[in-house]
């Protein structure tokens, strides 16, 4: 096996892979990307799933392990207001339960990424769920946007 990815990257990838799978299984024609600029390289509808930051805290005073939460942001670029609402609703329902956390690593030839399941993840807090209005007359990509941000933890 090649190099293992660190925890933060695995959290992001596990969440990305989970949401990508459930969206693709239930929706057609939705592109799922991991970086914001990629969202503008694809035709809408696009869903961008990325890790914003890590909220790190000690488990207890004197502990040597962290009790971290990870803030995930989902940006939705829809083709209509109705689709924006349906997609955001669908995603919110999907993160209500648990999903698989995997450790990721490059294979020995560094040609592929290998996932090894290692526990579960869960959403612990939704911090934002709202329509995004950037300007009065936005470009087509920005016309029907929505943001969902939430914290996840590994268990």
């Amino acid at each position: 096996m090649g190099s293992w990815f660190r925890r933060t990257r695995c959290i992001e990838l596990s969440t990305f892979e989970y949401l990508k799978r459930v969206i693709e299984n239930n929706w057609s024609g939705v592109t799922i990307v991991k970086s914001f600029t990629q969202a503008y390289d694809s035709a809408i509808p696009v869903v961008c799933i990325r890790l914003d930051e890590t909220i790190t805290g000690k488990l207890e005073i004197g502990a040597t392990t962290y009790n971290s939460s990870y803030a995930i942001i989902v940006d939705i670029f829809a083709t209509s207001d109705a689709q924006r609402l349906d997609l955001s609703d669908f995603i919110l329902n999907q993160i209500a339960g648990t999903w698989t956390y995997s450790n990721y690593a490059h294979n020995s030839g560094r040609t592929d990424i290998v996932a090894t399941p290692d526990g579960k993840m869960q959403m612990v807090l939704i911090t934002e769920d709202r329509k995004v209005e950037i300007v009065e007359n936005p470009e087509s990509q920005d016309r029907f946007r929505h943001i969902i941000s939430f914290w996840v933890k590994k268990f």
Binding site: F36, G57, I73, D75, T127, V132, I147
Partner: protein, 192 residues
């Protein structure tokens, strides 16, 4: 929006004691509002991609605003009033293309210079054309700074520890239970 729901059990004392509790919570919420505004300003300042020579209009526009509901039961503490903020507050936070009428200038000159605006140069938005200002048409979207989300993350993470250290739970619940014996009430304090 962060709601603090405080469950009060028991009623048997004067309502003025309840008002004192509300006042105490109000003072703490107000302080937290100030800290939140400061945090948001810091997040914005740290996220500047084009140096520190800009006008810092966005960071400076983030201030605490405070008001009460008509009956004085709900306290609101907001950070950043949209009417006081530059029009690009949303595109800087959420990312995307700049507003269509994006007039302004780069420090090194006008639109005809091939390299204008590249690298670390900052853009000054004036909203008017002429006098050295020109319309800037971006070739790629602005990446989101997400200063609102980062500040919300901070608020949520400090929220519980702030209450625990500044308003001892025993005091609130102890006083409250002497006020409302035999009944149940819910008091709401709203932040943002």
């Amino acid at each position: 929006m962060v709601n603090i729901d405080i469950k009060v059990v028991g009623i048997n004392d004067a309502i003025s004691s309840l008002e004192e509790i509300v006042q105490g919570i109000g003072d703490a919420t107000s302080l937290l509002g100030e800290a939140t505004a400061e945090k948001m300003q810091n997040v914005i300042m740290k996220s500047y991609k084009r140096g520190s020579k800009g006008t810092h209009k966005l960071a400076k526009s983030v201030e605490k605003h405070e008001w009460w509901s008509i009956k004085g039961q709900i306290q609101y503490v907001g950070v950043g009033k949209i009417s006081d903020m530059p029009i690009y507050w949303a595109v800087v936070n959420y990312g995307g293309y700049t507003p269509p009428a994006n007039f302004g200038y780069f420090p090194s000159g006008g639109p005809n210079k091939g390299l204008t605006g590249k690298g670390k140069e900052f853009w000054t938005h004036t909203g008017t054309i002429g006098g050295g200002n020109f319309r800037m048409v971006p070739k790629s979207p602005i990446r989101p700074m997400n200063y609102i989300e980062k500040t919300l993350n901070w608020v949520y993470s400090v929220w519980s520890s702030y209450w625990k250290s500044n308003i001892p739970e025993a005091d609130i619940m102890g006083t409250a239970s002497t006020i409302l014996a035999g009944g149940k009430g819910m008091m709401k304090v709203k932040e943002f």
